[in-house]
Symmetry: C2
Subunit: 337 residues, 2 copies
């Protein structure tokens, strides 16, 4: 690992290159680390801007199991606040308790995301929200039934009126409100964030070394920005037949490609990969170190054998562990009855 490699990686990221090993140890902002700085505010689209009333409505809908065919499964059943808004399972589960084809992604930090689902088939949270509700193996409720159920709960009406005055109580406002709530779900300040802001004591020497390895090895090419995700789609060489993004766009370069997941809270969100096939961060590092498993021709050029030492592997894990902060605290809603 050399400082020069890191500067090159920073160049790949479009960052201002920095020089000198002292600077490499802790560059001042703006510099390479500025690229990883937490934002101060949550973006909110003009066509569905955040209001407290929309957030409350969306939170109620997010936690409401009546949004499922069984009346027992809510968005929060799989995007579980106690498990960093994932479910901790290798593969998702839902209506009928059939195992799904992919791992449940966290909904943390999606306010900044430009595509939703592992395959990016939705371009916004508004577009995403109704998908799992309708999916037979997830919440299994038709949108017609969804609307009639919500209309049948009189206490929802004032929440909708406060959130979207004059608008119909229908699938559109349901999706919009859920999206507004989901945008409020942001992972807490992690040790890495404090280090980025200049607190040298926030990270162990091993975690700092891990960050160097992360930069030098090309991890940050895709796991970029403060969320450690570029929202891009890559075939990283996970074995299996799932075409991922390839099923959405008939382009060979995205066959077997999946969205770069955020690494925020990653140490609390195992198992890993889109199929949950790797149990620990150590296994994930080994996977990348050997250049993936699938050996397909269009595998991302960023996934090549790395030849990391045991120390470097351990340092990478230590760095990833520094990306976990306190979960966002929420006050659970009392659902309209």
């Amino acid at each position: 690992m050399s400082t020069r490699n890191w500067i090159l990686s920073a160049g790949v990221l479009g960052l201002v290159a920095i020089a000198g090993s002292a600077a490499a140890e802790q560059p001042s902002l703006p510099g390479a680390l500025a690229h990883f700085e937490r934002p101060d505010s949550i973006p909110s689209p003009a066509e569905n801007a955040h209001t407290p009333e929309r957030e409350l409505l969306g939170k109620s809908l997010f936690f409401d199991p009546r949004l499922s065919g069984s009346g027992w499964i809510s968005c929060a059943s799989c995007h579980n606040p106690t498990l960093s808004y994932g479910d901790g399972l290798a593969l998702g589960i839902g209506d009928g308790m059939e195992t799904l084809g992919r791992r449940t992604p966290t909904v943390l930090n999606l306010a900044w995301s430009t595509s939703m689902f592992w395959d990016g088939r939705a371009a916004s949270l508004e577009e995403q929200a109704l998908g799992p509700i309708q999916a037979e193996g997830e919440m299994n409720l038709s949108l017609e039934e969804l609307e009639s159920r919500i209309l049948d709960i009189p206490a929802y009406a004032p929440l909708f009126e406060a959130a979207y005055p004059g608008e119909a109580i229908d699938r559109e406002q349901i999706a919009r409100a859920i999206a507004v709530f989901e945008r409020t779900l942001v992972s807490g300040e992690a040790p890495f964030d404090r280090w980025v802001k200049g607190d040298e004591d926030a990270l162990s020497p091993q975690a700092k070394h891990g960050f160097e390895v992360f930069m030098d090895s090309g991890c940050a090419t895709c796991h970029s920005g403060w969320r450690l995700s570029d929202d891009g789609f890559y075939d990283i060489g996970v074995a299996g037949e799932d075409p991922g993004r390839g099923a959405i766009i008939p382009v060979s370069s995205v066959q077997y490609a999946f969205k770069t997941p955020t690494l925020r809270e990653v140490s609390r969100r195992g198992p890993y990969m889109h199929d949950g096939s790797l149990e620990t961060l150590e296994e994930v590092v080994d996977f990348y170190d050997r250049g993936g498993d699938a050996g397909r021709p269009n595998q991302s050029e960023h996934v090549k054998p790395l030849g990391l030492s045991a120390d470097e592997k351990a340092a990478l894990v230590s760095f990833m562990e520094s990306l976990t902060g306190p979960a966002p605290q929420i006050q659970l809603p009392e659902l309209p009855r």
Copy 2:
């Protein structure tokens, strides 16, 4: 409805009888209303006393879906904080999503309860806690597997050590911790509580009239005390073949008998009865007004046709609605990973 009847009802409850209609409208404490006064503190058994460490461990276990065979169902899946710690369904649901035989009871206010489950087959929360975990149609996890799963999560070890120093991490401490957490779940102060404490404006005239009907009609014979439950078992005439308490004790008087449910938060906890067969409080009042449906010989003597007027029925519902307060606020745990 006469004041004299109410005094007789109060006598049945073992209360100090009060005289005069003015006193009946708002007796001073101590008097009939003292019987309904909220307690100041939560009882805690000496052999498993409350500590913050035990509460945190118990809360973590309560919300942890790894306590189920599927890894997807936690205690909170059915005892859902957003639905007053019930599930809002007529009949429970669980592993395999098979419908269960009875409605999910709330776990609110069980610190004061002397028997658990609809049929009282557990005498304490400690004894109750492991039942749903093992039940095939609920969480479906053997106690052996439960223990090995918890032991496999290293981050649980310090929580157990803090909660029960020197004790084994096993089913016993798991059950004890869950019980400690559940005892902290107490329904919030309701309008009725403020009225009991002397705030005349806390209840509408209709709700106050409903309380008179409640006392006069014998409802408070079983729905007694601040929780509005005596923890007794009665056949109230719900049709069906479920023997209830009769399956636990071979005594004819408890055939088809079920535990008196608390009426706290009742307006938020429909549908009603042990089998969820009645959707609204209005239907419940009609049910009692006609003296139940089953017409079995050992039906409780307290369930006789009441001959209530439409006003009295509406007043009863209004009174029951006054028993709902704010849900207890809890900070969701971040589960050990």
